[in-house]
Subunit: 446 residues, 2 copies
Amino acid sequence: MADAAFQRCINPACGAEFDCGQAIFKCPQCGDLLDAQYDWDRVAVPDKLSEFGKRWATRDRRLDLSGVWRFRELLDFCPDEHKVTIGEGQTILQQNCAIAEHLGMKPDALHLQYEGLNPSGSFKDNGMTAAFSHAMMVGATSCACASTGNTSASVALYAHSCGLKCTVFIGSGRIAFGKLSQAMDYGAQTIQIAGDFDDCMRQVQAVCTELGLYLLNSLNPFRLEGQKTIMYRIIEALGWEAPDWIVVPGGNLGNSSAFGKAFLELKQLGLIDRVPRLAIVNATGADTLTDLVNNKKLVWNGGNVDQRIIDDYYADLTARHFSPHTCASAIEISRPVNLKKCLRAIDVCDGVVLAVTDEEICDAKALIGKYGLGCEPASAATIAGLKHLLARGTVAKDDRVACVLTGHALKDPNVTVNYHKDRLGEFSNAPIEVPNDLAEIIKLIR
Amino acid sequence: MADAAFQRCINPACGAEFDCGQAIFKCPQCGDLLDAQYDWDRVAVPDKLSEFGKRWATRDRRLDLSGVWRFRELLDFCPDEHKVTIGEGQTILQQNCAIAEHLGMKPDALHLQYEGLNPSGSFKDNGMTAAFSHAMMVGATSCACASTGNTSASVALYAHSCGLKCTVFIGSGRIAFGKLSQAMDYGAQTIQIAGDFDDCMRQVQAVCTELGLYLLNSLNPFRLEGQKTIMYRIIEALGWEAPDWIVVPGGNLGNSSAFGKAFLELKQLGLIDRVPRLAIVNATGADTLTDLVNNKKLVWNGGNVDQRIIDDYYADLTARHFSPHTCASAIEISRPVNLKKCLRAIDVCDGVVLAVTDEEICDAKALIGKYGLGCEPASAATIAGLKHLLARGTVAKDDRVACVLTGHALKDPNVTVNYHKDRLGEFSNAPIEVPNDLAEIIKLIR
């Protein structure tokens, strides 16, 4: 049924449509973002979401094993024979009473969706399984991406499993150590550009156009289709009910865009009764979205986004030679590619946007380690943001909240070790050195 | 039915038995290792292994979700109310045609069981869920372990989820960076002893005895009960058939011991027809098992192990001030705690033992990265060892082989980055630095 899918320009003044059999990711007519869209009447979507859960029983089938393709009718842009999977999306929503209590919430109200348990260690695998399926569908033979780290790891992993030649662009200096190790480990050609992420983003688009490489940044709308499934899994874990709030870190804004689209579609399909609210959390050192939405009053406005506000804002960034800076390298982005789609998500989900400091991120990260499975710094922006939203009363103490922890605790060990060893925060837990002597050791433990 | 379980000394000349309601892990009568044993007539083990697979359909039940407790009748030492789970064992056997072909094997013959996808990033979680269940059953309030890193991460994680006070002992210097970050992140008291792993191991046993802490090293027989389930999952993924070979890294030898016990029991219960062969791979810098088995001819001998061979060997290590050394820190152990149980596993599984160099480990690790999901150095000893066994003809090209990859690729990013950046081996893949200039970039990719 994959022929029920097409791409459409998100700008309603343009609205150009294209079939999915080509690798075009920006509207050739107006330059705006494209969206995967479906003629739902022609897709065999089950009547009830719970039907998807039954596929756990048939997980010896390749596509039912995948936490993405288990929901394949909801992202039906690609025939089954082209679908790529490496067993992504085996991630589980976990209730965390200890952190809930620490935040003053009702103990059963807080849930963490730890996407670090994906094969490459981050949520990106949800998107890549979908984008690489599209790449196979259009006959791509080589691919590229720009990355703060997680994307490069995921792209490199899927590229070798599909047999695609792969080049990843990273900025100089600002990449977490674990992530750099992955790009090399997974055998991608790794090109380190003298510049930041935004420079990489510009160059990769030019290179892909010039050399005909398949582009895997979140500009790619098929990635976002895969990322929708994070929401399906959260709903599944809550007995096919939407929570009151989804909290997500905001970087390139692919996740928030995908989540908004997921809920919009589920609502349109009559598969959920109500849409959860969305909270998107920036780091204060990379808070373009927060500034644009909260201060410049940028809104979706039915797709008629006021482009001048964005242009002026970016011109000012350029004039100031602004480079974003946060310890949460995964969200160290000042020109978010999916900005407009994210505005739509905020509209659909009655969303809020806020920014938290690096200190708050590091303390929240330590809290998630102390009482949970840990996460990378960017993921911890969720709990740091939730703390503010609770204090403001935006989120109620008994609201059911799901925070998306986007990356593995081991992605960025330096931040963790520094925080603890150098006693940088409230939860620092430095190791104690002791001679090889029983009496000395016992003195420490008593 | 947990009262059908008991502990028994593995020394047949002693054979003392104890109930499972106490925290004793060494025979109080002869000092030898203890084993969890079951009165199988009193345990409701299903007639067919495939019955366990049906629990995928009921995974909204806490114990059915766990990849360990899904098989609970096969490790039935603990009432359900004490069972601890954090969703461990969601790991999948993956066929890897590319590495098979690289090794000259039949393409469908090679499978990798990547235990790095456990919550703490290593196979240890399989054991800890079982051991912490026992800790809860005996009413423990505090616990400790010595660790080359993976154990400390897993213990710290389970301890906070059970509310136990936790102390982990690490050696100085020889701990992988990612692993150190986890011990601190998960909130354990981390004590770094001036010494190597063997020193830590001695001290933790003394401290636990002195202060009544629950001991979580692989001396603990209940950990091994949990580790048996890695084999159940492999068999499950192969349609409930045993492979021809299991290949596993050899460090403290808990895994090989557990795997041998798993197959012995499955055979006794009539749940499998034949037992796979077991290959245990040391690093040459920590090859006690290889030396004892291949050169000193140490054997299980129905449990009557020649203790003098071991004592002489260890006395010589002491006299030489020998300290093991390998880049594969997880198996940098010269006095393996589970040596005797491992000899039994070798006996049960017609096992072989060999050692591989650090260079071979690093090249194999890069191969697993290039064509698989990656792994930590110790895990790669499996593929390095398999290469030797194929060359010798011990393993045939069409034998069905399952290699156990014990730890996550991100556990030890330093080894990865050094191998690639410093071009240390056959598969090194260094990043290329380039100015922020399109023409320069395109020149590199063409």
